[in-house]
């Protein structure tokens, strides 16, 4: 743990903090450009059963009668202390609203990630084992995955496996089967990028001299793949993996809506419909926090894993990109 690395880590953490706070500001600005007036739309809507006193309390809490800049400052300081505000819809703390559904989305996202990695490894390893002529289909798969809208994947899975084969019931979205298929729908598009990067990495490594040497020593294909080619090829995969977190969160919006799951995605969907701005603000900022933290960890771990970049560069993410490019577009 030399001083250079610690300095690099400190700088990187500082950057991450700035990005998170700015992401909050950007979200706030986007949301408060909203032409509709949340007070009239939601709070004074008789369906919600707020009394005038409630409305006055919420308006005072959010400072909705204050200038936008003051609102931003107060909102930002509350966010910095971990206070996410109160849902306009349910009158519950936003942190509780999010906490209630976080587990479901975490399970879905983890399962989807597992699906994506498994598919990517299958495709990438397949290209290494099959003869060149038979590889075409496998190599075309990622670009096919990237061309299919994710809601179509979900609908097809439901149509075939729930309605025709009866493997799961749509009305029990949290059953193991339903969760697996939701994870499949969410994971397939993500697997495409991983598969592309991993395949390109393996292709590149298998053309290196050390691979020829290993082959000439009579090393079997599987041993070569697992012992030598996989490790250098998987570094860019880690980078891409960190970047796909955002995609999982965005995709969850559609997947959860289609499969009827309650989760962060469907919470966003319903909050958009009911214009529950504090919930939207909180979810989007938290998504940014998750993304930034995961990528921060990837950045910090990378120099430790890869001796080639052990001397920490000044702009680590740029360097990692260059590395990913070199490996994937030989």
């Amino acid at each position: 743990m030399d001083r250079g690395y610690l300095g690099f880590a400190a700088r990187r953490v500082g950057q991450a903090l700035v990005v998170v706070l700015l992401a909050y500001v950007v979200t706030f600005v986007v949301i408060s450009v909203l032409p509709g007036d949340p007070v009239t739309n939601t709070l004074r809507n008789p369906e919600n059963g707020f009394t005038e006193a409630d409305v006055a309390r919420i308006v005072a809490y959010y400072g909705l009668d204050q200038p936008v800049l003051v609102q931003l400052w107060e909102s930002l300081s509350r966010f910095a202390t971990g206070d996410l505000g109160v849902s306009l819809r349910s009158n519950l703390p936003v942190s509780q609203t999010i906490g209630d559904v976080l587990g479901s989305t975490a399970v879905l996202a983890a399962a989807a990630l597992a699906v994506a990695v498994a598919l990517a490894v299958l495709i990438a390893f397949g290209t290494q084992y099959l003869p060149v002529r038979a590889q075409g289909v496998l190599r075309a798969l990622p670009s096919l995955f990237l061309s299919v809208p994710n809601f179509v994947i979900g609908l097809v899975l439901i149509h075939v496996f729930a309605l025709q084969l009866g493997l799961f019931r749509v009305i029990y979205p949290d059953s193991a089967w339903a969760t697996s298929f939701a994870a499949l729908a969410l994971g397939i598009p993500v697997s495409a990028q991983l598969a592309e990067v991993l395949t390109a990495g393996l292709d590149h490594e298998s053309r290196q001299e050390y691979a020829s040497v290993a082959r000439s020593r009579g090393l079997g294909r599987t041993r070569l793949l697992l012992r030598h080619l996989l490790r250098p090829s998987s570094l860019p995969v880690v980078t891409v993996l960190a970047l796909t977190v955002g995609e999982l969160l965005g995709g969850a919006l559609i997947t959860e809506t289609i499969f009827g799951r309650t989760g962060i995605g469907s919470l966003v969907e319903s909050s958009v419909t009911t214009q529950d701005l504090p919930v939207l603000q909180a979810v989007v900022s938290l998504a940014a926090v998750v993304f930034v933290v995961v990528n921060l960890v990837a950045d910090l771990v990378h120099p430790l894993l890869d001796p080639r970049v052990r001397k920490p560069p000044t702009r680590p993410s740029a360097e990692r990109e260059v590395l990913a490019q070199e490996v994937s577009t030989p």
Partner: protein
């Protein structure tokens, strides 16, 4: 949705094989020809939908509701007896041109940001790079959703939202391309010969960077079709009787006994995006 990484990485040209192949070389591979034909059909559908179907996309014959695909109704009919083929064809213009709007926003705004950051460097670069980091940190589909929800649920707003969510990717690629070009010897030579910053920027840096950015733009066009379809699917585009592809799928999913309502518009979307991606790969000269 899917994207940033693949887009950024895929836009990097293969060394030694920049740009389209030599003119006059052999015909493009068959899959590319097929893709170009598909794209030509899609463009024709969006320019003159009336030429391809005589049926009304909005008014239906209720006695003919939920009919399967047949010679009279290629894609079958929906719950109001409207011809699905006619609805798909008439929805093309809005589905495809909104993706075009999104890409233009991404290229122009993102390109300008990347160009300024890369060319001016220094403090400008530091500030703009942070802004781009922030935009990248918010999941792009989520960003598109909150932008469209604050602008209002219209297809054109969905297009703007998609464009905004693509700005960061373009800015990043443009910046790295500009920096790469700026460091090259011919740019140095141009400065030494007394070329002004504007001259160097317009004559050397921009043309060199634009090739990669344009290849990315084609890729982003396919991606934007998917994002806009997703937004339309969630009901964030024009309401019915508009017939955006995503909206058609969304309306069709409520009739599981009539799967063609989902499969037909989905197949058209997939064929279009697949063709765009294939063409983009061919243009980059990587296959």
């Amino acid at each position: 949705m899917s994207g940033t990484v693949t887009a950024v990485r895929a836009a990097a040209p293969a060394p030694g094989r920049r740009g389209p192949r030599r003119r006059g070389a052999a015909l493009p591979p068959p899959t590319v020809v097929l893709s170009l034909i598909v794209l030509a059909v899609v463009v024709a559908w969006s320019l003159a939908p009336g030429l391809f179907t005589g049926q009304d996309p909005v008014a239906g014959v209720t006695s003919q509701k939920l009919l399967g695909p047949s010679a009279a109704h290629w894609f079958g009919t929906d719950h109001l007896g409207r011809d699905v083929f006619a609805r798909v064809v008439h929805g093309t213009a809005s589905s495809v041109s909104s993706a075009l709007v999104a890409v233009v926003i991404g290229v122009v705004v993102g390109g300008a940001v990347g160009l300024l950051a890369g060319f001016l460097g220094g403090l400008v670069d530091v500030v703009l790079a942070r802004v781009v980091d922030v935009l990248l940190a918010i999941p792009s589909f989520l960003l598109a959703v909150i932008v469209v929800s604050s602008l209002g649920f219209r297809t054109i707003n969905a297009a703007v939202a998609t464009g905004v969510s693509a700005v960061a990717v373009f800015a990043r690629v443009m910046r790295s391309e500009v920096i790469r070009t700026r460091r090259s010897v011919f740019v140095e030579a141009s400065f030494l010969q007394g070329g002004s910053r504007t001259h160097v920027l317009l004559r050397h840096v921009l043309p060199n960077a634009s090739r990669t950015v344009l290849a990315l733009a084609v890729l982003q066009f396919g991606l934007s079709i998917l994002v806009i379809a997703g937004l339309a699917f969630l009901g964030y585009g024009d309401p019915p009787p508009a017939s955006d592809w995503g909206l058609l799928v969304s309306a069709g999913k409520d009739y599981p006994t009539a799967p063609w309502l989902v499969y037909a518009p989905a197949a058209v979307t997939i064929a279009t995006v697949l063709s765009v991606n294939r063409t983009s790969r061919w243009l980059r000269g990587t296959g």
